[in-house]
């Protein structure tokens, strides 16, 4: 082998690497010629929609909790959903997370994952996190341990028997602790936290899972004004990174979240009654009737 040949080889290799890098930079990790690779269990967000509900109906003993509900949440969107009691807000979340099976309709996550085929734990694994109405944390474990269990990791029994936290994972727990303002309470038993702190802890547990979509059912119920405000700040910092669906009664909080321009959906009797900015929705005659009429 001559030096010239070796130099030529190096040149060609570098040129090839440059070309590959260009291709990768041009179109994400895909090139137009080869189409997109859909991997099982990885949602495809190329169309910009994170969650589709199409014509979903759920009835309990003849009562239609959801009545041909259709809804689409964009990637990175923060959507507030309001509606009077019994409008179907919680049933909708139950359907998305697999707790309730709809009678008819389609539910998909990204464009490729059919949520109706998955069990609760699987739905959580592919990136949909849910916060319950009532704060549910592991009362007798410490705040730190609560977050540790939520950490994205192998969920199988054998893996959990021998699992050790890596430095990176510790950093991640630390980062979330800071974000939910519980850094100083890390070693406290979760059952001893205040109501608002428990709500935050639960949100922190959701964040640990690195979900693509967060479903939050009345996240500020029972919080003080100051806590509510800090929660709004937290959610606003999350949008863009995650898609968020917030179900809430507190109009002041909804106002803080939408900042005047984000979309609000009003549910009533299991279907979408109105959609638009908070001002538009509040001016809608039908919405006023539903909330104040009767």
């Amino acid at each position: 082998m001559t030096p010239e040949l070796m130099e030529e080889g190096t040149r060609r290799r570098e040129a090839y690497a440059r070309r590959q890098a260009e291709i990768a930079a041009r179109s994400g990790d895909r090139s137009a010629a080869y189409g997109r690779v859909l991997r099982a269990g990885v949602p495809d967000f190329a169309h910009g929609v994170a969650l589709y509900l199409d014509d979903v109906t759920v009835s309990f003993d003849g009562f239609k909790a959801l009545n041909a509900l259709s809804l689409a949440i964009d990637v990175g969107e923060l959507r507030c959903i309001i509606g009077p009691n019994g409008a179907g807000k919680t049933t909708m979340m139950d359907c998305i997370t697999g707790k309730t099976r709809p009678d008819t309709g389609k539910l998909s996550f990204g464009s490729n994952i059919d949520l109706l085929r998955l069990a609760e734990a699987d739905i959580a694994q592919i990136g949909i996190g849910r916060k319950f109405q009532k704060p549910t944390v592991y009362e007798r474990l410490s705040v730190f341990e609560n977050l540790e269990l939520a950490l994205a990791a192998d969920r199988r029994v054998r893996a959990s028997l021998f699992s050790r936290l890596t430095g990176e994972q510790l950093d991640r727990i630390g980062a979330v602790l800071t974000r939910i303002h519980l850094k100083d309470e890390a070693q406290r038993t979760a059952g001893l936290l205040s109501h608002g702190q428990k709500q935050w802890l639960e949100i922190g547990m959701l964040l640990m899972q690195n979900p693509k979509l967060l479903l939050l059912d009345e996240p500020v119920a029972g919080m003080t004004d100051e806590e509510t405000e800090r929660t709004a700040e937290l959610f606003l910092s999350l949008q863009g990174e995650h898609s968020l669906v917030v179900v809430e009664h507190d109009m002041k909080f909804v106002g803080q979240l939408t900042e005047g321009h984000r979309k609000v959906t009003v549910l009533h009797e299991g279907r979408v009654l109105a959609e638009g900015t908070l001002d538009e929705v509040q001016a809608n005659q039908q919405v006023v009737e539903v909330y104040l009429g009767r």
Partner: protein, 357 residues
């Protein structure tokens, strides 16, 4: 970490106590001469040996009840199955020394059977029979647990079903046709591994083996609850739906600890039978299973040490009361349970522990 069970010193203390009771006391029976202050009478050796087996059961109950929040009122079934597994082997060891001088156990001759039924096929091999001792209760627990947990049967409903299961098994074992000696069960054991079973040396050896088994299982249980697996179990106990929506499959976790707990009980049963010299369907009675839960509750759930203390305390008291005031024992047991529920929600061990903030 807040849930760290013991400090190093407590840990050493507990192990030391277990070794003294589980190994030291029985050995003193042989080593120290009779009449000496250190001599442990034979009666106490058998009592300690028995209670060590009970303590294993209490530990098994604590793993599922204290940590995973699943109350079983049917662990007596697994205990008895382990006992029957050992009993079958011990019956074969009698050989031709039974009343009828036959190869078959006396109860089979009495029923006019000519050959061993199919499920006695392995009973003359110690190793095969020990595999059955672990395997049969383990498999039963696995299958039962799989269907119960998959159907999301929880709380008191689960407890009632376990109770019904052990009761049904008791009725089955009462029948002579089942091939387990009917209501008399197995007794009159002569040898184990060819060694006479009624000698003082064997009595001490069996008690020591029980003690060592308890220590081994205790160390294992402690490792389990200190692992992430143990924390997932506690999470299931506190908020199962949250565990599910975090992406864990609670069925797999519950099934794993449930089966392990059943196998622990079966081991205890297998150690118990050669020491007391009898096994009959009475061990499957609902009351026997409920008593196991009482040991755990009296000692203190979710502490591992508590249930062991509880097993010693309740059975020690039982041994004393049934001798001193036989007619009052059940009243005392009831009163003790009420007192613990009202005044010591954390059990006896809660008395020692300082309240954690």
């Amino acid at each position: 970490m807040s849930t760290a069970l013991f400090t190093l010193r407590q840990w050493i203390g507990v192990l030391a106590a277990l070794i003294v009771v589980g190994v030291g006391l029985p050995v003193l029976n042989l080593v120290a001469p009779e009449g000496s202050l250190l001599h442990v009478p034979d009666f106490y050796v058998s009592l300690i040996g028995k209670i060590l087996c009970y303590a294993i059961c209490a530990l098994a109950i604590d793993l599922i009840w204290g940590y995973a929040g699943i109350l079983s009122l049917g662990h007596g079934l697994f205990f008895a199955l382990g006992g029957y597994g050992m009993g079958m082997y011990l019956m074969r060891q009698i050989g031709r020394e039974g009343q009828y001088r036959s190869d078959l156990p006396d109860f089979m001759v009495f029923l006019n059977w000519k050959a061993f039924p199919w499920h006695w096929a392995w009973s003359d091999s110690f190793i095969a029979q020990m595999l059955l001792v672990v395997g049969v209760p383990g498999l039963l627990a696995f299958v039962f647990g799989y269907f119960a947990f998959r159907s999301r049967i929880k709380g008191v409903y689960f407890s009632i079903i376990t109770q019904a299961l052990t009761f049904a098994a008791m009725l089955l074992f009462f029948r002579n046709e089942t091939g387990f000696g009917g209501n008399n069960g197995f007794t009159d054991f002569k040898r184990i591994l060819g060694i006479p079973i009624t000698t003082p040396q064997m009595r001490v050896a069996l008690a020591v083996i029980s003690g060592l088994t308890l220590i081994g299982l205790f160390v294992m249980a402690r490792a389990i609850v200190a692992s992430k697996f143990g924390r997932v179990l506690q999470a299931i106990r506190d908020a199962e739906s949250r565990v599910m929506f975090t992406g864990y499959d609670p069925i797999a976790y519950k099934l794993a600890i449930w089966t392990l707990s059943a196998v622990m009980c079966a081991l205890a049963g297998a150690l118990y039978v050669p020491q007391v010299g009898i096994i009959n369907p009475g061990e499957m009675s609902p009351a026997a299973s409920i008593e196991m839960a009482i040991w755990a509750a009296v000692g203190g759930r979710g502490t591992l040490v508590g249930p062991i203390v509880g097993a010693f305390f309740v059975n020690g008291a039982k041994s004393f009361f049934t001798a001193a005031f036989p007619e009052f024992w059940l009243y005392f047991l009831g009163a003790m349970f009420i007192a613990v529920t009202l005044f010591l929600p954390n059990g006896l061990i809660g008395l020692l522990r300082k309240k954690t903030p």
